[in-house]
């Protein structure tokens, strides 16, 4: 069974604002039975653009019910402009956190809100553009890209937690991996011109920790960052890598390439011997 925060439990056991609203003037419906969760958000917005009342109906698990309940509570009394700014992370924070496998419930809330606001403005709901990547759950590449950007996701598992994409037959995992790589490399392009020395060192450290060390450790080796001088990254090898004759190759082909790809294209990795 999932570990839920007290706030989630409270909103699940006694959901606020559940049920139908007859005179709603903003309605957003997302999800489907096939996906296992669906949410209908109904709002009554007054002439000043303030949300007077918010109600929901949902088909879903405890987190879906709690997320919907939380969202309606958050919306009451807000103006349309304020409501617009609510993100899925705000819903999660309001609830004191959600299990990582259930993040998609908060995303569902955000999506329903978008639909409801579009409905209020009389705009057509932006049709889900993009191409379906995950057939099992009907998730498009654009949705996946957005989840990656907004929540800084880096693994297929995280994408599944937030969007459900990849949670079924797993046939779309390769495509999701490609999208992650693409979005993350875009991000780097934006930040590169502004990369200060401190940032560079931090990113190198992070990249070693996250992307490089686990693979090396898998083979019984390890690496340590000794210093960064300009674009020279000085490292020491440990464990199996230190005695391995192919370690130079590993440094050039794997470590350096990773760092160039994820941090700065001109980095050069050098091994220091103590």
């Amino acid at each position: 069974m999932w570990e839920y925060s007290d706030k989630v439990k409270e909103h699940f056991l006694n959901p606020q604002n559940a049920g139908e609203m007859e005179d709603a003037n903003a309605v957003g419906e997302v999800g489907s039975m096939a996906c296992g969760d669906a949410l209908k958000l109904m709002l009554k917005v007054d002439e000043n653009g303030k949300i007077q009342e918010a109600k929901f109906q949902t088909f879903g698990c405890a987190s879906a019910i709690a997320s919907a309940s939380a969202l309606t509570e958050m919306l009451k009394g807000k103006t349309i402009e304020e409501a617009e700014k609510i993100t899925n992370q705000d819903i999660v924070d309001y609830l004191g956190g959600l299990p990582k496998e259930k993040m998609h419930c908060s995303v569902l809330g955000r999506q329903a809100l978008e639909h409801a606001l579009a409905d209020y403005r009389g705009q057509p709901v932006k049709e889900q553009e993009g191409e379906i990547v995950c057939e099992c759950f009907g998730v498009t590449d654009l949705e996946i890209e957005r989840a990656i950007r907004e929540n800084n996701l880096s693994t297929v598992e995280e994408v599944t937690n937030y969007t459900k994409a990849g949670g079924g037959c797993e046939g779309c995992h390769d495509t999701i991996r490609e999208i992650i790589a693409r979005v993350r490399s875009e991000k780097k392009r934006v930040t590169r011109p502004k990369l200060s020395n401190i940032q560079k060192i931090r990113m190198i450290e992070e990249t070693i920790e996250r992307e490089i060390r686990p693979s090396l450790q898998n083979d019984g080796g390890d690496i340590e960052l000794v210093d960064v001088i300009g674009n020279r990254v000085l490292v020491a090898t440990r464990g199996a890598c230190a005695t391995c004759r192919a370690s130079e190759l590993t440094l050039k082909n794997f470590v350096e390439q990773k760092l160039r790809e994820l941090v700065w294209p001109e980095l050069v990795v050098e091994e220091v011997t103590e």
Partner: protein
């Protein structure tokens, strides 16, 4: 708050009698059954007795019983042994609704280059015997089919399937983890070559299992170590566990008829009660032959995890075939294989009873469950209060 435990296909309570039989073997008689001295020897004698008790329940011979650590180990051992002894054959036949102990291994073996055929089931969860028949080829090394399904309780005609395999000289294994102790099993005159048991499904503790291997079946051990289990499974025996399982098997053999009638009556009461009190429900596999203790009920337009958690508030334990409880996002592979529509599959709950459940408990469940479903349906966008479900959700 009292606990009403209706999740006995997940695990069962250790019977007081079983516990009592085991206790002295933790401290008083702690000898190693392999030792030459009398102190160890007396434990060895108890193990022999337990082996007989297990064999008796199965209609097997004591030397056909191999003690393992669990049902999964038994399944894995059987499948891998078959492939090692039938080296030239590369094909495995199984079903779409197997337990992960079999299913995941088959998927793994498929990646290793074996060909795996998963026989489909019909809407009631019955094995497609025509497909089964044509799936057996000269290249088939092994058939592995569960005796009874853990989620729905649907029973497969394993004896018939085993005979068909035998005619073609194909090894036959059955995962009987859910069946043993609940329905009569007699291997004395059977075509089944190997069969798996798990202790904690029949009121013995966790951590003890059995693999039955018919005399004359070629066998290759999975766990290689000492000469325990006549070299077929190395490792010092889980003596207390084995003794407990022996006792549990003896009790199951004695009580099966009487208890099963009682458990089945309770199950049926629960089932008919829910069906009559809650609209838009269905029992999955109801049209097939089923275990007497299992009921898998789908509640249309509500989601399983939410039901489970609300039942838990009243101390009622069951489990769900819905996606949200399993960590995966798709509803159970068993219900999907049966073609249970999504509107139903997401809201399915498995109630599984044991000899320790009482009529009063069932009454309590029948009192608590209908309002839970009503409450959840009142939030559901697909549910219309008049009882007419809206079709847009499907």
């Amino acid at each position: 708050m009292r606990t009403i435990y209706l999740d006995n296909n997940a695990t069962t309570q250790v019977s007081p009698e079983v516990l009592e039989a085991m206790l002295p073997y933790f401290n008083e008689y702690y000898g190693n059954p392999s030792s030459a001295h009398t102190f160890g020897g007396q434990v060895a004698a108890k193990l022999r007795k337990a082996r007989e008790q297990v064999a008796d329940l199965l209609g097997a011979r004591p030397e056909e019983i191999i003690f393992t650590s669990c049902g999964s180990e038994s399944d894995n051992t059987a499948i891998l042994s078959a492939l090692r002894t039938e080296k030239e054959k590369r094909h495995i036949v199984t079903s779409r609704v197997e337990h992960p102990a079999v299913r995941s291994l088959c998927h793994y073996l498929e990646k290793q280059g074996y060909k795996v055929t998963e026989i489909p089931v019909d809407r009631e969860g019955r094995l497609d015997m025509d497909q089964y028949r044509v799936s057996l080829t000269r290249d088939t090394a092994l058939v592995t089919l569960m005796w009874a399904n853990n989620e729905t309780g649907v029973i497969f005609p394993v004896e018939e399937a085993a005979r068909m395999a035998k005619e073609r000289k194909i090894l036959f294994h059955t995962d009987a983890v859910q069946a043993v102790g609940k329905i009569p099993i007699d291997l004395s005159n059977s075509a089944i070559d190997m069969l798996s048991i798990s202790g904690h499904k029949l009121h013995a503790p966790k951590g003890i299992g059995v693999l039955y291997v018919r005399t004359g079946t070629r066998f290759s051990p999975f766990l290689i170590g000492g000469h325990q289990e006549r070299g077929r499974r190395g490792g010092t025996e889980n003596t207390a566990g084995i003794i407990g399982l022996g006792k549990a098997c003896e009790m199951a053999a004695e009580n099966m008829e009487k208890e099963n009638t009682r458990v089945k009556a309770l199950r049926d009461k629960l089932e008919t009660g829910i069906l009559s009190l809650v609209p838009n429900t269905r029992v999955n596999g109801a049209g097939a032959e089923r275990l007497p203790n299992t009921s898998n009920i789908s509640f249309e337009f509500v989601e399983g995890e939410a039901i489970l958690l609300l039942m838990d508030e009243h101390g009622i334990c069951a489990s769900s075939g819905s996606a949200c409880t399993s960590g995966s996002l798709q509803p159970s592979h068993v219900l999907r294989a049966m073609g249970v529509p999504f509107t139903m599959a997401h809201g399915s709950i498995r109630f599984s009873l044991s000899i320790y459940n009482t009529e009063e408990e069932i009454d309590f469940v029948l009192e608590k469950v209908p309002p839970i479903i009503e409450k959840l349906r009142s939030y559901s966008p697909f549910w219309k209060p008049e009882g007419q479900a809206c079709a847009s959700g499907t």
